[in-house]
Amino acid sequence: MRDIREKLLKKIHELFDAGVVDRVVGWKAGEFCYDVTPALFNAGNIDEILYDAFCGPNQSKFLVKGAEGGEKKILALLKPCDTYSYNQLITEHRIDPEKIYALGIPCTGMVDINKIRALGISGILGIEEDGENLKIETLYGTESCKKADVLLERCLVCKGKNHVAGDELLIPDEEAPEVPKCAERMTEVEKLEAMSPEERFNWWRSQLSKCIRCNACRNACPACTCRTCVFDNPSSGVSAKVNTNDFEENMFHIIRAFHVAGRCTDCGECSRVCPQNIPLHLLNRKFIKDIDEFYGEYQAGAEPNVRGPLISYTEQDVEPSIVMTRG
């Protein structure tokens, strides 16, 4: 990752010097090195841009506001899976590709701080990739673990190393390192489907009742870019800032997932940012699974300007009663 970062910084300097862009959305560490958030950089502080295994945040959503104003283009750094969200935002006319210079950057999988903590590693100061292993610098000395054990959920089911959008690639996709796929995307969903309704209900209650309605899942989601969200509209009757009962916990998550159904690229930001670790991606994946089964395989954002499954139809579509009969 260190050599990729060096190459990346060199490229960014080149683009600034050539006058192509005048600002860039990059990653910045917060209070701790694993606390990485997207941030806007300009010519003065390019060298502070981070790129390591904690740079999971999907940047495409920040282009909606970031691309406004400015004299030149804004530089976007897109990992392969971010390019799906980028395409989806172009399709929905939320960003104007004319105002953006999209640079595709390689990714070898991002890590989940919670999984590292679960291994008993704390006081983390820095992280370094060492082949299949991670070297973690901590207050108590150097620890190491297998990278595959601490990958983010989304990286376990990686969509591959190919970028589906962008103006330029830092490294050609063919030369980028292979990304192993460690799990099947729908395994968890199928496990839930196999339970009895009563078990499912109790399982989801045990998860959704943890929700503190912080709205982080909505705020981080690259598909949630409405100017006014239904959950911020006082006259919708559902804009309460706290779930007052279990109905609202269910309702919030059903509606949040429904509003991105057919547009969700399965980037997994919702689960990544959830402070309560609710597996929200399982709601989105259920919609993806149903859409694939009922209306044909569909990957949101795989190409720009296609009509999604919920804004199109065929006369032979299945009837809603299929939910009753498919067992």
Partner: protein, 155 residues
């Protein structure tokens, strides 16, 4: 959608459980179908409350959840037959949305028989009455909706 006290699902005077059912009916076909049922002297249960909507695709998934929240035990959506939509294609979109919503409710463990979509034309008064009678029977059998309800609405 406000429901007053008399619309709450309360035990009937006989003490028997009487569910509350909300039927979203499209203005052009199913609402007229209900009218046909009435003028043909066909009966359907009085605890089915019809909400008239311009088109079946006007029904937002939130409407259905809110009906459950406010005490509905079953929700049925009725629209024109596919191909007969007054707005040409509205019910095709509604069909996709409802399929996904119902599947999601099932996934969350909520009884899947509580929601239903039926296509009923203005001439099908008999189908309207039969559907409503059958749906009311299903909901009666399932009993009170406890999984998707604001318990503060209990009386």
């Amino acid at each position: 959608m406000q429901l007053n006290d008399t619309n709450q699902a309360v035990p009937a005077e006989s003490g028997a459980y009487k569910p509350l059912i909300v039927a979203f009916c499209c203005n052009w076909c199913s609402y007229a179908g209900a009218d046909t049922a009435g003028s043909s002297r066909l009966s359907y249960p009085s605890n089915i409350k019809i909400i008239r909507v311009p088109c079946s695709c006007r029904v937002n998934p939130l409407f259905i959840l809110r009906a459950f929240q406010r005490g509905a035990d079953g929700v049925i959506l009725c629209g024109c037959h596919p191909g007969d939509c007054h707005y040409t294609t509205g019910n095709y979109y509604a069909r996709r949305r409802m399929t996904l919503l119902f599947s999601m409710l099932d996934y969350l463990g909520i009884e899947r028989e509580r929601t239903r979509v039926e296509w009923i034309s203005a001439a099908e008064g008999a189908k309207f009455a039969a559907t409503m009678n059958e749906f009311a029977e299903t909901i009666n059998r399932l009993g009170k909706n406890r999984k998707l309800r604001d318990l503060r609405c209990e009386i």
